[in-house]
Structure formats: structure tokens, C-alpha cells
């Protein structure tokens, strides 16, 4: 169930319509109520489970679909904005459902009790019948996503291009909306009307942090959905056991629906923080690493400027770097352990051969860039140096090639300093 919801969730997320699920899941509630009531004459003790499950699914589908139509109608004909339409349909339909339910509470009390699980979901009381029905519906969703994979991918990333390929955008849109409604119907039994939308959003968001590839998005989201489902169930049962041990009066199960949502939410937040490419932690780490490299190269450059053969005192180097002395000593230590720099006497450093090569390369890039800025971009000569300070650290060899060609392999920079040639050797 969660798998199907996660798949559909990816589609909705890419269309920036994540809150549609929220609105439609609440809109399905009156359908649940009405469906059960309408089907009540057909219920016998033998087929009760089946009839109710079918009635609920059908009713939910109908009213969610009506809700969808109303949202569209409000936007197109009445000029209501999307957020207001979603919010109004959400609360209005839910209110209507509640009103009917409040009556049913007294007239068909047993039936009313059967409807309650749909508010927050109650996977624990799902029977085989439920599993079969929802399993089939989930399978339908899965199949449709697989079959229409190419079209969905095209439309999600560029609608106009997809249309130009001959894909019928309108039909696919309708199919996606159909799948959303179906996913909502499937999900409300496990997670409940109120929290359903979380299963559409959280796995998709989490998956997005790990990949840019459409297919991978679907797969990862599906996996996260599955894991949330299992873990949520497991935790609620375990928690239940834990509490009932300590408390003799504990008769209620930890609500599973919210548990599943919580797991999904936590996984989502972890993904946002830790994912390898886009995660916050990694971003910060990479920025720090880059800073470190910049400082290393700046130190080498400083040593170069004082004459590549000489030994330079620590204090002199420190004057040109804007970092704490501890950090400076640490970096110098690392540089010398990697043989870029020699620690000849205590507090005195000089470049090794390798160090000199690296420093020459940096200086070359810096001066090329200065020349470019002065001649082509029109920066005043006085300010060129400061502007070029960062550039040399990130110029790749392709850019260096381009620069050399553009500037016709120069020998001197704007300050009339010699530019080390590409194959600098002492």
C-alpha cells in the first residue's frame, strides 16, 4: 500500500502538487461513510468484510474524484486560487462526511464503528479480504506506472517537449490524477484519511535527495514507502508490548497510521540532512574541504613569492593568511607530511620540488586570470589582484586551455610579472 502511494507521490511531487493528496484524502471521507451505508442492505455475516471493503473503496473513489472536479471547477470558472480551492474542498467534504457520520452513529452504530478505522488507519485489523482488494488496487497502480513509464518521465520534466513528441499530455494528466485518487483510496485504510498525504510526500522528498534520475526516484521512493510501512507496523506492535508490560490498564494499540507517518517523516529528514549529494551535511563538508584546499594553495603561493628556494619563517607566512595560528600550524604540518613543504628548522618552511610545481601552476592560473580580467572584462589594474584571488583554485585545465588560447599564450600579467609557462621546470 505504502509502495503504491510512494510511487504516485513522486509523480505528484514533480508536478508541485503535493498538497493535492491532502485535499483528496479528506474528500474521500464522505464516500467512505456513504458507501458503507448504501451497501448495508447487502451485508450478511458471511460477506461482511468483502462488501464493506468494496463499498468503502468505491465510495472513497467517487467522492475523491468529485472533489478533484470541484477543485478544477473552482479554479477555472470561479477564479479561486489553487490553495484556497484545496483547503475549501478539504474541509467542506470532510465536514459533509462528518455530518452524515454523526447521523449514522446512532442509526447504524455497528457500521459507524467500522468507519472509524479509516480516520487514522488500522492496518492491524485488516483481514485477508482487505489485503486482496488493496493489493489488487496497488498492483494496478504499479502496473500503470511501469507501463506508462516513458510518458510519465517525459511529462514530468518538460511538458512542452513531451507534447512535441506526440504524447497526449491531457490523457496522461488524467491518468496521473486517476492514480492519485486510487492511491488515496488504497492508503486510507492503512494510514487513515487525515495522514494519508504524508505517504505521498515524504518518500518522494526523501528519494529526491538521493538521485536525479526519474526511474531511480520511483524505485527509491517505493523502497522508502515499503520500509516505512513495515517499520511503522513493527514499532507500533513493539511499543504496544512495551507499554502493556508496564501498565495493566493498557488496552489500546499504539496507532499504526501515525507510526508509519512518523517513520517516513524521520527518514525524510535524515535524507535531507545526510544524502550524499544534496544533503545539508555533505554540502557543508564539501564547502569546508574546498576552503581547506584554498588555504593550502595560498600558503604555497606565499612561499613561492618569497623566492622558491628560501626558507620562510612561520610568522611571515601567518601574516598573509587570515586564519588562526593553530589551524595554520596544522595545515603546514599536513603539507610537510605530504612532501609539498619542508620543515627545515623549527618554524621555518620551504617548498619542495613538488611543492614548487604546484605553486607555479597556481601562480600561472592566477596571472592568466588577472590578464583576462584586465583586458577583456575591463577591471582596473589595481583591483585585479584581489578579484583573481579565488579564481585560481577552481580553474580546470579546460578553462586554462581556453584562457591560454584567448590571451595568445602571454608571458606577462598586468603587473608585468612573468607568467610561469605550462611546463614549468626549474
Amino acid at each position: 500500500m505504502c509502495l503504491a502511494a510512494a510511487l504516485v507521490g513522486v509523480l505528484v511531487f514533480l508536478r508541485k502538487q503535493s498538497l493535492l493528496g491532502e485535499s483528496l484524502s479528506h474528500a474521500s471521507y464522505p464516500g467512505v461513510v456513504v458507501g458503507v451505508v448504501v451497501a448495508s442492505p447487502w451485508i450478511t455475516t458471511k460477506n461482511e468484510g468483502l462488501v464493506i471493503a468494496v463499498a468503502v473503496a468505491a465510495g472513497a473513489f467517487v467522492t475523491a474524484w468529485i472533489g478533484l472536479l470541484v477543485i478544477e471547477l473552482l479554479q477555472r470558472k470561479v477564479g479561486v486560487r489553487i490553495d484556497a480551492a484545496l483547503c475549501f474542498v478539504l474541509s467542506a467534504f470532510f465536514g459533509i462526511g462528518l455530518t452524515i457520520a454523526s447521523h449514522v452513529q446512532f442509526t447504524h452504530t455497528t457500521l459507524y464503528l467500522k468507519m472509524l478505522p479509516y480516520l487514522y488507519g488500522q492496518p492491524a485489523t485488516m483481514t485477508d479480504v482487505h489485503i486482496v482488494i488493496y493489493g489488487i488496487l496497488s498492483l494496478v497502480i504499479l502496473l500503470m506506472v511501469i507501463l506508462l513509464h516513458k510518458e510519465l518521465q517525459a511529462i514530468s520534466f518538460d511538458r512542452d517537449f513531451a507534447a512535441s513528441l506526440g504524447i497526449n499530455v491531457k490523457t496522461i494528466d488524467a491518468v496521473i490524477l486517476f492514480l492519485v485518487v486510487l492511491a488515496v483510496v488504497v492508503g486510507i485504510r492503512s494510514v487513515g484519511v487525515v495522514l494519508m498525504s504524508a505517504m505521498l510526500i515524504a518518500p518522494a522528498v526523501a528519494a529526491r535527495q538521493w538521485t536525479n534520475n526519474f526511474t531511480m526516484l520511483l524505485i527509491i521512493a517505493a523502497l522508502i514507502g515499503l520500509v516505512s510501512g513495515f517499520l511503522g507496523n513493527y514499532l507500533s506492535v513493539e511499543g504496544n508490548r512495551y507499554f502493556s508490560r508496564g501498565d495493566a490498564y493498557w488496552r489500546f494499540a499504539l496507532p499504526t497510521g501515525p507510526m508509519i507517518v512518523l517513520v517516513a517523516g524521520v527518514m525524510c529528514i535524515l535524507s535531507l540532512l545526510l544524502a550524499s549529494e544534496r544533503g545539508l551535511l555533505w554540502r557543508k563538508l564539501r564547502a569546508l574541504r574546498f576552503r581547506y584546499r584554498c588555504i593550502c594553495e595560498n600558503i604555497l603561493k606565499t612561499l613561492w613569492h618569497f623566492g622558491s628556494e628560501n626558507e620562510i619563517a612561520l610568522e611571515v607566512v601567518a601574516k598573509y593568511q587570515d586564519i588562526s595560528s593553530i589551524y595554520l600550524k596544522f595545515i603546514l604540518w599536513r603539507l610537510s607530511s605530504h612532501r609539498w613543504v619542508n620543515n627545515t628548522k623549527p618554524r621555518y618552511y620551504c617548498l619542495t620540488n613538488d611543492g614548487r610545481q604546484w605553486a607555479a601552476k597556481i601562480v600561472r592560473l592566477h596571472r592568466l586570470w588577472e590578464l583576462y580580467l584586465a583586458d577583456y572584462v575591463g577591471v582596473g589594474v589595481e583591483r585585479v589582484h584581489r578579484n583573481a584571488e579565488e579564481m585560481e583554485h577552481i580553474i580546470s585545465s579546460e578553462v586554462e586551455e581556453q584562457l591560454t588560447q584567448l590571451l595568445h599564450n602571454p608571458k606577462q600579467d598586468p603587473h608585468d610579472q612573468p607568467i610561469p609557462s605550462k611546463d614549468f621546470v626549474i
Binding site: F290, I395, L406
Partner: protein, 257 residues
């Protein structure tokens, strides 16, 4: 002894937008009493420059002064006309309501507009030729009418320095004429106006100063000196592409991407 204080002084302004650099190391000075046209190719950062100068965006670095002071000290001397598209024209207010908003900054919290403010609103509406539209809903205005009303609102602020973002985009000829005449009237009163402009053909006739932007400041000075083929080539030409690309890489590395 009257000291010539520049209306606007910008020092080493650098702005990032998401991960790409949009403005890099802009330093310039604009004297008071001139009409400045800000031009450059698409994506050059013209609107960003306006927003950064006015404190709507957080720049990476840079210092801006207005008449020698930071913006917070001279807010009442600076007026802003944003792009028309940034506003929801279905908002339930009338034209006069909109123009009156120009006084809100001056009024401060817990004070209500008085008769004098209403009179001023009508006065400025008349100046832009929209006096008879006072009671209309803003949703019923055409593009040119919307722009004129926006300008009337800015005039309400009775500032010394005006910033306008693409006021001539998508409006009818009559409105454009009205606005240009208004700009010249402002200049006669010694006011300074900085306008983001998109049409290179009209630069020389509308403005007496020009600021050419393309991520970097290409040039800033009187129209006769600055508005020529060399500068335009530098702004719109190809050798610039390398610069932008390198900047992008730099910013990405800084952010850890």
C-alpha cells in the same frame, strides 16, 4: 559650501542567487539629479541590482550608501516601483487605495491616512492622468494604466531617489509618453531616477546616464561617453561567457556542490 553628495554609492557589491553568481564586485557612483538607465542582457542581474541596493536581497558582500547614508537612515528619501507582475492585480482595492499605500512608510504604525494624504493621492493621480479612475478596482486596469498608478504611488512618497524596475515593459504608447514626461519633470526638480530598461533604442533619448551591467559592471557614466559600440560589445559579446562560467564554478565550490 554645497558638497556634491552622490545619490547612490555602491562598493564591491556581490550577489548570489541560489548557486549562480548574478552580480560580481559592482562598484559605482551615481550623482544626484540624473536619469539613469540600467541596461544589460537578460539574466545580467539588473533587477537583482535594484533589489540588492534596496535591501530586498542579502548580498554576499558590498556596501551601499544613499546620499551618504545607509538605507535605514534615509528610507523616506528613497522610493521603489517594482515590476508590475510581482503584484496580484485581483487584490480587492481601488486605485486610490493603492496610491495611498505610498504614504504608509511615512505614516508609521498606528496612524491612519488623513485628509491631506487623500488630497495628495488625487493630486498625483492627476499628474499621471488617472484622476478619473480613483474608484476603479485595480483588476480593471490595462497594463499602461497599472504602471501609471504604480508611479503615482511612488510619487506619493515624495522621495529624492527613485528606483523603477522595467516601467516601460508592455505598456501602450500614450502611457509611455506620460511616464517619460514625468521623469523629466522629476529631473527638473533635482530628483534622481534609476530605471531598469530593456529597449536599447530609446536609451539615448530617455536617459542622461547609463549603467551597463552583465554580472560585472561594464560601464557607468554619462550617456554620451558610455553608450557606444565598445561597451555594448563588452556587455553582450562572447568573451564574457568564460567569465560567467568560471564564476559559476567558483560559487558552486563555495557552497559545496
Amino acid at each position: 559650501m554645497a558638497e556634491e553628495i552622490s545619490a547612490l554609492q555602491v562598493f564591491q557589491l556581490t550577489v548570489n542567487y541560489d548557486k549562480t553568481p548574478v552580480l560580481w564586485d559592482i562598484t559605482l557612483e551615481v550623482p544626484s539629479g540624473v536619469l539613469v538607465g540600467i541596461i544589460g542582457p537578460n539574466g545580467a542581474g539588473k533587477t537583482t541590482f535594484l533589489k540588492a541596493a534596496l535591501g530586498l536581497l542579502q548580498p554576499l558582500s558590498g556596501k551601499m550608501t544613499f546620499f551618504g547614508n545607509p538605507l535605514s537612515k534615509v528610507r523616506q528619501r528613497v522610493a521603489y516601483v517594482p515590476q508590475r507582475a510581482t503584484v496580484d492585480w485581483d487584490f480587492p482595492i481601488t486605485v486610490k487605495d493603492l496610491v495611498l499605500m505610498g504614504r504608509y512608510g511615512r505614516l508609521g504604525v498606528l496612524r491612519w491616512p488623513r485628509k491631506a494624504d487623500w488630497a495628495a493621492a488625487y493630486h498625483y493621480l492627476e499628474m499621471v492622468g488617472m484622476a478619473q479612475y480613483g474608484h476603479r478596482q485595480i483588476s480593471q486596469l490595462s497594463g499602461g494604466q497599472q504602471q501609471r498608478v504604480f508611479i503615482a504611488r511612488a510619487l506619493m512618497e515624495e522621495a529624492d531617489l527613485y528606483f523603477m524596475d522595467e516601467p516601460f515593459a508592455g505598456i501602450d504608447v500614450a502611457s509611455e509618453k506620460t511616464i517619460v514626461e514625468l521623469l523629466h519633470r522629476l529631473k527638473e526638480q533635482g530628483k534622481t531616477v534609476c530605471t531598469v530598461h530593456h529597449d536599447l533604442n530609446t536609451v539615448e533619448s530617455y536617459f542622461d546616464w547609463v549603467m551597463v551591467l552583465n554580472i560585472r559592471l561594464v560601464a557607468c557614466g554619462p550617456v554620451e561617453e558610455v553608450f557606444n559600440a565598445t561597451t555594448l560589445n563588452a556587455a553582450y559579446g562572447k568573451s564574457y561567457a568564460l567569465f560567467g562560467e568560471a564564476l559559476q564554478r567558483s560559487r558552486r565550490k563555495m557552497k559545496g556542490f
